[in-house]
Amino acid sequence: MARNVNFDPHLMEAGMESPVDEEDVHHSFNQIIAENSQSVAPSEAFELQQLQWELTEEVEDSVHPLPGQGHEPREEQQDQRDFGWGGDETDPLIANKWSSATLRILSSMPSRTIGRNRGAIISQYYNRTMQLRRRRQSRPSIKDLSRSARPSIRGYGNEEDTTDAEARKREHLVNNLQNLSVSDRVRMLREMPLSVAEKSNLRGLALQKERQTQASGQMHCCSQLKYYTIIAARQGWYSWLSFLHSLQLWQVPLKRVSGRFGTGVLSYFVFIKTLLLFNVFLFLVTGAFLVLPQALFPPDPSADKRSFYGLELLTGAGYFTDSVMYYGYYANYTLQKSCRVDGGHHNTSLTNGTMRGCISNHHHYNMPLAYFFTIGVAFFITCIILVYSMSKSFGRSFRIDKSHSVLAMKVLCSWDFKVVKETSVKIMSENICTQLKELLAEVSHKDDTKTAGQKLWRLMVHALAWAICIGSTTASVVSIFYFSDNMHRNLKERFHEDPLLKEASMLALPVLVSFINLLLPGLFNLSAWMEDYESPSVRTYVSISRNLMLKVSILGVLCYHWLGRVAADSGLTCWESYVGQELYRFLIMEFIFTLLDTLFGELLWRLFSERVLRRRRRPVFDIARNVLELIYGQTLAWLGVLFTPLLPAVQILKLLLLFYIKKSSVMMNCQAPRKPYRVSQMTTIFITLLCFPSFVGASVCVTYTMWSIKPSSSCGPFRELKTMFQAGKRWVEKLEEGNQNLSVLANAYSYLVEHPFFLFLGAGIFLIVIYFHSQVVDGQRKIISLLQEQIENEGEDKKFLISRLQSIHEQRRGPNRRQRRQDSSC
């Protein structure tokens, strides 16, 4: 998360926190330096000397007298103390050269005590809240600050002397907290490393004061209203969150999976949960605004009523053709409460809207308009939610600096605390051990360069692998193209055949596509194995890009087939319903093939490798491939919403079943991945893939359908119109007729939407905003390198001051020591 960096000494020092309570009071460094640079009175010098002598004795018993000491042998320490410091100029901070007094001073340095006691934490947070208040009010201008090349020395909110009493500091802190905005206050309290009791105390005090000021002063009615609104909104939000949490959708299964396999495999199941939520939202919207009204006012039943065979569940045709599932069922007139004429027949008219002989004025529902707007608004809201979650995920995982500290991160950040099963913990330890050994080998063999011949060979192998992948993708795309063309032509010629057989033959295309989707990733895996990548993350990215290329091209050719060929075909009575049925079939087939893949790829493979090959290694759960399958399924669902408003419900059922089946399969058959898996980066990539090719592609297709394709003339809510878009236009025209004032709005609307100039303008502004943000990121990178330089400089300063202190102390001690030695030798 790229925070706004500001030159602030407090934030930099603020890090050293450890709320271990100690009785020491925090001293400022200046005081100590001042003490030591003045001439020390002989008695004090003698006291320091005594102390040092005692400590020397302690040290001789080889006990650590002070924390933070080095571990060099004690004898050296003594010798160098005797001869005074003046030896090694290159590294004055080697601990064995320091005297005990210096060590004592060092141990009470601000950077080592600042986090240790409550008073220090409170004073530190006082400064933070002060600074936050100032920042919220107004930024100090650079001109007002004293010039300095080192930003930390500038007078940015100078810290007061921290030797104030703790109670006063606490009062100041409470005062500051009270003056912050509510969200800032909650955030500050959350971040404080104090105990719960302390925090609640502070919070209580802050609220108490607030109530007092409210009661005493006359608050302006608007701000009071705002205050109550904010409180109410916050309470509402928290109760909604606790309700969501109490639903505990899949809490226990997720915990079991993460306990056994860690965060990587867990992210797949969390992704299923995310997709489920998207589909639930879509289902609620389409169900409430499209399916329910149409189901309550069914149109005339069509002539051929088919009976239910079992095949409909697979093909979606037959009994389901003329049902609320598909586009063709929906009325193109305004639904009104039925008025019975002629003993039960609805007198419906196919022209714009009025029912002959019916004067009911309640419950008008303009179906075409509702259809148009529901789909549009659902897509728009999904887009907003997707972009928001994508940006949040990106913010969490984006790092400005390229990480050079891979080994340190592997040691300190790689342990997955979620894993609780004993065997999994063992596997994880082994993995980390292996990865550390590999990193060490890499670090020590970094200068191994390959010869030109080896490089050429590797290049050829890569080229061959890519050729295989691209070739197989192209071959499958071309075969789908011709096969779909063939099937479509055959469909028209086979009218006299058994309808059941005809329907079953419509399953051929989905089966072919799912088969290709199953086989080709295996081929890609083989070629990746042949290429033998060194870095596992590069291998993952290459595999994802190949699979993505395959799926995008397949979906592209299918969209061309549906929107280009089928839509233009005048032979079909209702092409939209046909396309909806196709999408339903594709979704079902994809589900069936995923089940088959789970069965063969995981269960049977495990049995085979255990019984026949007698290996202990189980198959590894390939997270990337499975997530891409999910994204592919979701793209189909989004493509199909326009033609099949109930498709989200099918997708919901499919995801629910998939979750439980995959979970049982993973628990029974698989083991955790052996390669390191960067969870947040992968999650960001997947949600970006969900947004960018998947959702954007689906919405482009739907927009194209609504904008340019002529709807079929005998079914659906857009029967007479030239394009679906005209439904919206007609409504605007009608409004205009009704009320002349709205003509401005209508004109503005048509001007904005139909002229390309504004589109270009919008895109241009977007690009400019992106450019500015990239410049900001660049600037922050530069600031980070400046700050790192500054930290090194401060480190040098510290070393210098410490060595000076040491030398001054040695000088003063020198004559006294000689005197003492003479005394003691007598």
Binding site: K199, V420, E430
Partner: protein, 198 residues
């Protein structure tokens, strides 16, 4: 979002206001009905030592469970750092946790705790000798716990040296909290791996 600070603090607020009977006295029935997080945690705390932990907190009892009981929880049992985790959250440094500290522990280890708080406690966990620095010994102990002592001593030495070399910014041959936090900020996975589900 499993852990809004509000709900956690509200627990203590209710206690400090002497709220008795209806809200805070937990009996077995309310544990089943009321699914809010503090109640659930109290259930877990109680089942560690049913005869020690009171159900009624109105009299503000001072009850601490020893380290040995807490590290037997299934979420912590196999974790190589379990002793350090519990010690880091205990006020006395010995691993005896009161209920407040118990809640504190699972709150910091939850999904939504802020990154700074997690970094503070992670630093404390890895700081075996509690000197506010991660010196070479601390790193060696961490490494041995991570790899279950599978690495040779030379490899351990090399890894520790390289780690300090990579992460130490101010050149004092050990990692202060600022160095640690700087390194954590470059590891986006830290937030998701430093998380225990309860």
């Amino acid at each position: 979002m499993p852990f809004p600070e509000e709900s956690r603090l509200s627990v203590v607020r209710l206690r400090s206001q002497g709220f008795s009977g209806k809200r805070w006295v937990i009996n077995k029935q309310s544990l089943r009905m009321n699914n809010s997080m503090p109640t659930r945690l109290h259930g877990r705390y109680h089942e560690l030592a049913p005869h020690l932990v009171p159900m009624d907190y109105t009299s503000d009892p001072d009850c601490k469970l020893p380290l040995a009981l807490i590290v037997n929880m299934p979420e912590l049992k196999e974790n190589p750092f379990r002793n350090r985790i519990v010690e880091a959250f205990s006020e006395d440094g010995m691993g005896n946790l009161s209920f407040n500290e118990f809640v504190d522990m699972f709150s910091v280890l939850s999904e939504t705790a802020p990154r700074e708080l997690k970094a503070i406690y992670a630093f404390k966990i890895y700081d075996f000798n509690v000197d506010n620095f991660l010196c070479k010994e601390d790193l060696e102990k961490t490494l041995n716990k991570l790899t279950k002592e599978e690495l040779t001593p030379e490899e351990v030495d090399l890894v520790c040296e390289k780690t300090i070399e990579e992460a130490d910014l101010d050149g004092d041959n050990k990692l202060s909290f600022a160095d640690f936090e700087n390194m954590i900020s470059r590891a986006p996975d830290f937030l998701s791996t430093f998380h225990i589900r309860i």
